[in-house]
Symmetry: C2
Subunit: 339 residues, 2 copies
Amino acid sequence: MSQTPRPPRRVTAMDVAARAGVSRTTVSYVLNDRPHQAIPEGTRRRVLDAAAELGYAPSAAARTLATGRSSLVLGVIPDWPVSTNLGEAMRALTRAFATEGLVYLSHTATAAEEDLAPLWGTVSPAATILFDHVPPEQVDRMRAAGIAVVVASWSSEASVPGTMDRWDEEVGRAQAEHLISVGHQRLGYAWSDDERVVGFARPRLAGVRAACAAHGLAPPLVHTVPADAARAGDVVRRWRGEAPPVTAVCAYNDETAHAVLAGLRLLGLAAPADLAVVGVDDNPVSALQDPSLTTVRHDLDALARQVVGLVVGALGEQASPGPSVEDRTPAHLIRRSTT
Amino acid sequence: MSQTPRPPRRVTAMDVAARAGVSRTTVSYVLNDRPHQAIPEGTRRRVLDAAAELGYAPSAAARTLATGRSSLVLGVIPDWPVSTNLGEAMRALTRAFATEGLVYLSHTATAAEEDLAPLWGTVSPAATILFDHVPPEQVDRMRAAGIAVVVASWSSEASVPGTMDRWDEEVGRAQAEHLISVGHQRLGYAWSDDERVVGFARPRLAGVRAACAAHGLAPPLVHTVPADAARAGDVVRRWRGEAPPVTAVCAYNDETAHAVLAGLRLLGLAAPADLAVVGVDDNPVSALQDPSLTTVRHDLDALARQVVGLVVGALGEQASPGPSVEDRTPAHLIRRSTT
DNA sequence: GCGTGTCACTGACGCGCGTCACTAGCCCGC
DNA sequence: GCGGGCTAGTGACGCGCGTCAGTGACACGC
């Protein structure tokens, strides 16, 4: 629709200088608040006014070229299945990076083994966050191009052992701790049938295992639960047929939990009496169901801060305010009627 | 600020030139496939090999500066409430722009009236897509900086009348057509209680209205449905108390639809017998509920192509392959058990 | 022999900016 | 009068690249 008419020749710092009656250098000093350069208030104002009147906006490309450093951080979001709180996670990252003076942008990968070169080639970020496994040679090429690469991956095969795992372990732990605290002794784990989420699922399950072990219980009985009421019903039957029977399950996420609930319904059973269920994500519809789903919600802001810490560290800034020791719990449980 | 110890000194085109024993210009010509410049195969190979061996990656900033044109498109995603298929929409845009040789990136706004200057200042995209209303002076400043701005907005107050509305009108129309085709004569519309989605909701409702009018029916009876079973129940009661009673409702999205269903349940009623319900979005849990929700799904790829067409047009490329006339239906209905 | 044309390649400029090194002007102490 | 220190400001360089306007070498026609 609305065309931009022929590029009206960019307003440059030189135009500002001419209008303010000073040199371009002075303009640069004023606009960048040069620390050890005394600029009298009068000149300062003239420059500032001229810049405002002309609508001057410095060229990012030129600045990046001159300083050899852009303040752009690029997140590469893998081809994950739809996630309810993707938007919220991105917002959390944007906010967290903004406090460091960095601009965060997201790229959504469209294929698992995508070639990232055209991407960082046209963006030239200061740092890139890889949220999933990427071939090491790609990482090397980026590093060679002067880009700080942070592998904030959940899959433990990644080059950097996943520091992010802790978050999902906490999630699993929160699920299990809750179920144990209300009296369950034999837990099941509802694994997702989507292979792509294994990076999340593994640490969550590890968290459940850890909680069970901590309370001297047997490890959870893991079954894959398809998004299909009939086949989910089969799984429910197997859990209940154990000796002793499984009385509660932690689901990979709300969607998987709803599949379990659908299976229960099909068998004429109900949560929590016949099987307690707890999900993850707090999908908005989970509260509206009957029975309403107990679930665990991430603290995405805390997670974002962690990621920002990693990136700032990788950018070689000193005084990163301590890499970890978040005091807030990264996950908290919302109890509703399925437990 | 202290200097950081120069990272390994970027590999530049000059390094490649030295290694290949040619001039930097030749390197540039080879790597950019200069059309009207004959380069013998031998030289070509030497340059290509040298580039590969050195792991050369051109500087995006320098190229942008030199050409005055980056191939980056920036999408500004407003502070919308969580959307199930945000990730899918972003992927669709990424794919669609890739076919035009453009790189698409998303920025998630964190506040409604955010100042976008730092954003495009550090990114310097060729074009920016605004998915929501943005103050005109901000748009003007971007245009002055040589950035093509496309307002792909759903809210009709935007400076450019939203061509995107058509998509959501189709969605509403698909909902209503389905309900009418199965015999309903008096429709209700379940409006969302979230003010931020009004841009989507309005055209969807318009589509429902249009379908009703086309069939000689009375316009839909609109009520806001809160995400709360008790208050949703009140709304259900009012619909059913009309004369003649409303027998089917189109909901703004699946979430709102689930609220209606929750209200029905609370009153001891059920869909579709007492009130038929159709949502929008195909939230994955909608299929797992009892009753499973009839819903309408967008064709996000088609929508993405539309957006790309707008952007390409704004970039002044000729031969944009026709602005519209998509033959595929942008929305299709998935019938399940609530209708 | 000279003009014309092609091939293979290169020198140099400019994109807009940050920044170093430097100067012109002034006041001060001696 | 002169060196020294300060203020206010500027000239020029380089970041890495695309690209125009050449240049030298050679073949050809007449």
